[in-house]
């Protein structure tokens, strides 16, 4: 297989989209990144096609989004037979414990608080990649 499976990034803030992609590049994570700009778009990318769309290897999910927020997307993912085992990592600027607990209660696999300093963010993404992408087929 030549192509790595893609990562689905669900994020409404354009700056954060670019920063996350920059951080992934910095960590040599070469999976294609598909971006959903809100929860609604994420759900249609996961479910709304004639033939079943290919699933991402990892979902990076922002919490605070307009219309359908990250928690609701997560609930949907966990409630659907086809996607319920999909690794989902919550990415958010919040560090409120209630958010963290809620995320885990809804079945998030991991949680990253987006720190102000970019280097710490890259570090967090690196750890995440090490853990969630290591079983991935290597690119040839």
């Amino acid at each position: 297989m030549n192509k790595k499976k893609h990562i689905l990034l669900v994020e409404d803030n354009r700056d954060d989209v670019d920063l996350t992609i920059m951080a992934l590049e910095k960590c040599d994570i070469v999976n294609e990144v598909k971006v959903a700009r809100d929860g609604d778009e994420a759900l249609s990318m996961l479910y709304d096609t004639e033939e079943e769309p290919e699933l991402p290897v990892l979902v990076l999910l922002d919490i605070n989004m307009p219309k359908i927020n990250g928690f609701e997307v997560l609930k949907e993912i966990r409630g659907n037979e086809r996607t319920r085992r999909l690794p989902v990592v919550i990415l958010t600027s919040s560090r409120e414990v209630q958010d963290i607990h809620r995320g885990y209660d809804l079945g998030a696999n991991s949680y990253i608080r987006k720190p102000v300093g970019f280097e710490s963010f890259v570090e967090a993404v690196r750890n995440l990649g090490r853990y969630w992408l290591k079983w991935n087929e290597s690119p040839v």
């Binding site: 600027s93 987006k114 102000v116």
Partner: protein
């Protein structure tokens, strides 16, 4: 006849007296009820304010951080991807933008933790300050392993209070002791439980630069610092936070120092189990 009249008169007086008493009683009942209502209203108002404050803190933690992340991340991208098109001065400006951004990030974090202390509910439990302090000291050591540091903590520093809040307080006091002693060859921090009359206090002493008692009235005020940020970086929120935590425990906090001779911070927390024994 005379005596009959007297009796009737007395009965009449008593009836009036009884009515007056009854009226007064009713008055008191009404007052009581309206007082209770007032307390209920006030409590509801306070709870609403508390909720609003929490919502505010929450949105601060989300919404103020996001743009800062952008400033820091894109400044770094400029430095890394276009650094060769910038001269030394240009790079320096970008680095200053990044430093200022991170400073604002820690300001936001500190203000948030301060506001949480105001709204957090207090849970009183036995707290082992000795163990807690060793823990805090250990992580400071790990952060700066190159520094020579000694810490002496007596084994018996135990109080009653909120474990989470007291950890924040001790963290701030020990951080300060460490930071303001960093110019010494060996950092020395002593933590002890001391009896002073009927009071038991916790003393945190260091061998650092100390401060001028002339400015003592600014010590526990938010954003006030007695040393320059160039020498000792910081936000000036730490001691204001400690003060608030001690206030919430109905305790007392004070300090003594002399420039160049180290500092001592004292904390008295009322310990109900202890006072009831005495």
């Amino acid at each position: 006849m005379e005596s009959w009249l007297l009796i009737i008169r007395n009965v009449h007086d008593e009836t009036i007296l009884y009515e007056q008493l009854n009226q007064a009683l009713q008055e008191i009942r009404k007052l009581n009820a309206s007082l209770e209502q007032k307390v209920k209203d006030r409590t509801r108002e306070l709870e609403a304010t508390n909720r609003e404050l929490e919502a505010f803190a929450y949105s601060v933690s989300h919404d103020l951080r996001a743009p800062l992340r952008g400033i820091d991340g894109f400044s770094l991208a400029l430095l890394e991807k276009y650094g060769d098109q910038l001269d030394h001065k240009g790079k320096d400006y970008l680095n200053r933008i990044r430093a200022a951004t991170r400073k604002m990030g820690s300001l936001i974090d500190d203000i948030l933790s301060l506001s949480r202390i105001a709204t957090a509910s207090l849970q009183k439990k036995p707290v082992d300050i000795t163990v807690m302090s060793r823990d805090i000291f250990q992580s400071l050591r790990e952060k700066e392993p190159e520094r020579a540091a000694e810490m002496h903590i007596s084994d018996d520093v135990k109080v009653t209070g909120d474990p989470g809040l007291l950890r924040v307080a001790m963290q701030n006091l020990i951080d300060n002791a460490w930071k303001f002693s960093s110019q010494q060859d060996v950092i020395r921090i002593d933590i002890a439980r001391e009896r002073n009359g009927s009071e038991t206090r916790i003393a945190i002493r260091d061998n650092g630069v100390g401060f001028n008692m002339k400015y003592y009235n600014k010590l526990f005020t938010m954003f006030q610092r007695l040393h320059s940020g160039r020498e000792f970086p910081g936000t000036g929120i730490g001691l204001a936070t400690v003060q608030r935590i001690v206030n919430r425990h109905s305790g007392r906090l004070w300090a003594e120092s002399e420039v160049g001779k180290g500092s001592a911070f004292y904390m008295v927390l009322p310990d109900h189990t202890e006072t009831s024994q005495e």
